[in-house]
Symmetry: C2
């Protein structure tokens, strides 16, 4: 059966490398959203807990509930949290309207737009937001922003980091004014963590923990933690010229063996067909032949197992996208196994 | 919260249309593999059961177990079936080796390669296969093939249909020889169903039930049953030239409102970025702005809900792929709702 192997040593290596660089082990938080970027939420949560992580970020309440007993702080970026969910699950608030509606019993984090113009309240609404928080007696756990240039750096990155600093300063001032405890504060993974002034700052580590570049951290030696393996379904001895798969697109280039393997585009792989430019090779060297099926692909091999990839960048490059997309699209129904 | 609405009327309409065309209501079988081609396994199984379907095909044992009480015959195309699974779950066998290994207690269907050269035993191994089946007292429920030209027709289609006919004839002969009961027989959705000669023939209906063309059936009036809806997360009033999203790639073309919506490439949508050619519009008319995020996209709108698509062919055409890929990649965690 196909499986995604998760290398626990590489995971720990990555966390250690990032932690050393940041010099803030206590405040490292891990992003586990979208099934831990496709790696398997429960599996990565288990490893994160072993590594002493206390704060994590998930996509929504459904993900949070799966790991509710693992962490002290679980923040769901999107959607509402039901009243019956445990109090270590925090809702995220992105508008003043939701701030007016949320139950005073539900802890939450407030997202502020630092210039990405995607989610969060505007900076100029912070004063109104804190009026509501104070008046309604709301449980503000954290304030955060998201820098839209985290993978790019440059001027845009610095501009939004500057805004994040402004937001933090204003939050401190508003808390003081309303006599509220300081919330924790976090923006995109930053290259330096400033403490002091009484605000506990945490660093959200995302793709870096999974082994892919945090460009802003300049850590090229991170190690991908996942490798995807397919199992052989069956083999055929064919003559040169015999046709394979849908539409009979691929023709045997010689007398030999072709086998089918148990992963396809229905498992989240990008579909390879006759229009795909170039040849995509598995990590173990075999070409994935066009056309890929929904549940399997063919290769000129009779190996029992094939390593489809051990570094998502190869697929990302081939399909002109980013490793995040290759990884998050992997079906949650592929078996995950921690090694 | 984003949701995939399943139109039950359209589903019934499609099944009726196909049934009328085939004139074989009793033997219609439905393919529910890969989360019912992304539509939601449990939801579609419920509708199929209401429609009187008795035989279904799923990807593997995990899918079969989710719907074990719904159908008389559940065939898992891939993988093994555990001894403790109920006896209405059938394994598929694609090699003589598996035929030697399978428990005599587990009912199964035998796949025979009719020329697609993907899965199944070769035609010339049928005689050996029946020797093993007879000798080991195995529970053969069905024999099937898969025509690799089902969506294309033409000469290749007819050639593989001819092979399917040969396989059926040989199976009848071998059953007679070994004094075995006739198994059921099925190949790709066929335009005519031949009965007679004591073999019960069933027709596997796949994508057609979900509203997309079965080219070999020439049924252009099928109706897509799924529409994908995203909910607004929050809105921003921006000035002309202000930048949106990762890398600040998109710039506001006028003073106006942009909103974020709760679906992204981590939910299985294809990722749109600045390299994507052309503009992809939602069914409700809004452009999905580059770059799409993992969990959301932005659009120049302040609607509370946006219909991302109501016909997967629009997305398939835009990304130069097939509706199957657009649909099966939809995350199983998106809420499905039958209407």
């Amino acid at each position: 059966m196909a499986e995604l192997l998760i290398n626990s040593q590489n995971f720990k290596y990555n966390l250690n490398l990032i932690t050393q660089h940041l010099d803030c082990q206590d405040n490292l938080a891990l992003v586990l959203k979208d099934n831990a970027y496709g790696h398997g939420l429960r599996e990565i949560a288990g490893l994160a807990r072993e590594s002493g992580i206390e704060s994590v970020f998930v996509k929504n309440e459904a993900e949070a509930l799966q790991i509710k007993n693992h962490f002290k702080h679980i923040t769901a970026f999107y959607g509402e949290i039901s009243p019956q969910s445990p109090s270590n699950i925090y809702q995220c608030i992105q508008s003043l309207q939701t701030l007016q509606e949320i139950s005073p019993l539900r802890p939450f984090e407030l997202e502020v737009n630092c210039g990405m113009n995607r989610n969060g309240i505007p900076i100029h609404s912070l004063s109104n937001a804190f009026e509501i928080i104070a008046k309604r007696g709301l449980k503000l756990i954290g304030v955060f922003t998201h820098n839209g240039f985290g993978d790019e750096g440059g001027e845009g990155f610095l501009l939004q980091e500057g805004n994040a600093k402004k937001i933090k300063d204003e939050v401190i001032s508003l808390c003081t004014h309303h006599n509220l405890p300081f919330p924790r504060f976090h923006s995109l993974n930053t290259s330096g963590v400033l403490r002091g002034n009484g605000v506990r700052e945490i660093v959200r580590v995302g793709i870096g923990a999974y082994g892919y570049a945090c460009d802003s951290l300049n850590l090229p030696s991170l190690k991908p933690i996942a490798s995807l393996w397919a199992d052989k379904i069956c083999s055929h001895s064919l003559k040169k010229g015999e046709k394979i798969g849908y539409g009979g697109i691929y023709e045997m280039p010689y007398d030999g063996i072709v086998s089918s393997y148990d992963l396809g585009y229905g498992d989240g792989l990008f579909r390879i067909d006759e229009k795909t430019q170039g040849k995509l090779l598995c990590s173990s060297g075999e070409q994935i032949l066009p056309r890929m099926s929904m549940d399997c692909f063919s290769a000129l091999s009779d190996k029992e197992k094939i390593c489809v990839f051990s570094d998502a960048r190869e697929w990302a490059k081939f399909f002109d996208t980013i490793p995040y997309e290759i990884l998050t699209k992997l079906s949650p129904f592929i078996k995950r196994k921690v090694i």
